[in-house]
Symmetry: C2
Subunit: 342 residues, 2 copies
DNA sequence: GTTAGCACTCAGCATATAAGAGTGCTAACA
DNA sequence: TGTTAGCACTCTTATATGCTGAGTGCTAAC
């Protein structure tokens, strides 16, 4: 629904001001912000209507107005200004991020931390979801007589490892056999294609030797599984305590975030390039006082994950969104760089 | 300094009760706890003396008493009962922990999480400090034309990796040369012995080929460095918000913990088997309202790290200490298992 | 449609009062 | 000399009261 030009201006003024100060905004203040083009009484009339329409609300009968979630939504969709990052700021972020670009996980931890610091909110991101990437290399690293480490590297730069304890001493034969099996069945295969049927095939083809090998083959399957599921990275949760509107539910909120599983699923479902989720628009009631801004990044043209923030609904959307967008593009670029030289 | 038997009983009663309820404890309550062996008036006299001696204090002129830090210290050192874990509880913990025992870091994350859940505090631990362990294996995993992954495994089961970007395409010659260099200079060497002079030696012996190799050699050195320094693991920080005595400084506290560097150093210096640090006994003022209980674990007889908790000073020391001790022994045992088969 | 003016509402603050918990002290007791 | 009963006193907590100021809704005039 479209509001009148003047209502737009008033709503924008209220939201801008409220984001800035956190105090309810009165008609006089708005009149001043609009250069007294109309008097405060007129503003009052308009604001009363905006209340009825559900864009504003009053904490108490006679105080200024604050935006409702509907108000924020309207503001984000139509009213807010678009800012650009200063180029020196962009440069600074780029430098910081590049210093951690050697591994995807480190990169996303860094990205989340940068966002947390930049925004005063919690920084959040998901590691690249790799179901289309293939296994690049499988290596065994013997540790002890019966202990061996299985290392799996994917074409997207992920490296995962797992220690495997065997029931029998590890022989050179076994290792050689494993490398043969790996070359035949794993290398060049999509991580998402390492599933039960394939494993059974392998076991069958091995015959009597299958038993000793089973642990190693399963380890590879486990690692492949880990590679397909993207992981949640959260940094700067403590920042959320800074926002007094979140304090009341700080415990629930932080506990929820720390758990991560639910959140992780939620992020996986997102598919727009930029998503702003305000208050109760969030599925989980732990987030009903929070907003989430996420921007997805792509690796080699393929949507791979997201970076963003979680903060209070009262948040400077106009300034933060460009930062988050910029960072997501940067993450995509750096991750593509790691991979592209293939 | 030794107190009279009766003062001991009274102090113990006050601390026990205060830990339980969080409310100041009055003379009448204490009299009841001691089965009215003496009247409340007598208790009052004794409590007044305990105040003068610095073991108790009054939040306001006329309220019950609460323990001072000195009081807690005395209680922990001499008064508190010793509990034992129920054997089914021990079994439950053992099972949980074993499920994550494949890698040292996962194990300690799990241990911290268990402690956090068990105690309602933040669980904390350090990964094994490995300066005496030796490099077991160094592997190269090619990723792209100019990108290669360096993997380092230590005898203690640690596995670290780093992506290395080269200026020139990676050739088989280079890889072979690296493996020769590694076999001659790294394998079997203590991680703490990989330092600048050794690197210079290697560079010198390589002559003109040193340039291409430098990145790889440096990567190994970086990884060795990472192995020597133990890492801090923190779980369940959100639990701290449950304790109202910490709420006032929750932001500072969580920020401090999240940073970790300082804390990490502090933990490294600890050398007693069990350490209880109460309030201002902590070096950092962010922790002056907190207590820390740490128990060190040993891997193959060698002190390697610690596990424990951080919580408010008002905490059930008597019940938590046995849990923490038990967990530290368990961690040591599981880590030794991973390593022993060498 | 806009504005000035005014009565009204309500949060926030300060002050006053009462109740209750617990103390310190004194004097009597064993 | 150590212990106890009794009592006045202190201080927190809760509740009630009044005041102030910001901001409103409404009405009447422009």
């Amino acid at each position: 629904m479209e509001l009148s030009v003047r209502k737009n201006k008033i709503l924008a003024a209220v939201v801008d001001r409220y984001i800035l100060t956190g105090e309810p905004v009165g008609s006089k203040t708005v009149a001043a912000m609009l250069d007294h083009a109309v008097s405060s009484a007129t503003i009052r009339n308009e604001m009363a209507e905006l209340c009825e329409l559900g864009y504003l609300e009053q904490p108490h009968t006679s105080s200024g107005r604050i935006p409702t979630q509907k108000g924020y939504r309207y503001y984000v969709d139509r009213l807010m200004g678009r800012y650009e990052l200063a180029s020196d700021e962009m440069y600074r972020i780029e430098r910081q991020l590049e210093s951690a670009s050697s591994e995807p996980e480190a990169l996303l931890i860094k990205a989340s931390a940068i966002l947390a610091e930049l925004t005063g909110c919690a920084g959040i991101s998901t590691t690249p979801k790799d179901e289309y990437t293939v296994i690049k290399k499988v290596e065994l690293v013997p540790i002890g007589k019966k202990t061996i480490m299985v290392v799996l590297a994917t074409s997207s730069g992920l490296l995962k490892s797992k220690v495997c304890r065997m029931d029998v001493p590890i022989t050179l034969d076994l290792i050689e056999l494993f490398y043969n099996v790996a070359a035949a069945n794993f290398i060049g295969v999509r991580v998402s294609d390492i599933h039960a049927p394939l494993l059974q095939n392998i076991a069958a083809s091995l015959g009597e030797k299958a038993f000793d090998m089973l642990g190693l083959v399963n380890a590879v399957a486990d690692l492949a599984q880990i590679c397909t599921s993207s992981e949640l990275v959260l940094e700067g949760e403590a920042n959320l305590l800074n926002h007094k509107e979140l304090e009341a539910n700080a415990l629930e909120l932080l506990t929820f975030l720390q758990d991560g599983d639910l959140l992780s699923k939620m992020l996986a479902e997102r598919n727009s390039q930029l998503s702003v989720t305000i208050g109760k628009e969030n599925v989980f009631k732990e987030l009903e006082n929070s907003s989430m801004i996420l921007s997805s990044y792509s690796v080699l043209g393929q949507r791979a994950g997201s970076v963003g923030i979680i903060g209070p609904t009262r948040i400077d959307y106009a300034r933060l969104i460009p930062s988050i967008k910029f960072l997501s593009q940067l993450v995509g670029k750096l991750l593509s760089d790691v991979t592209e030289s293939d």
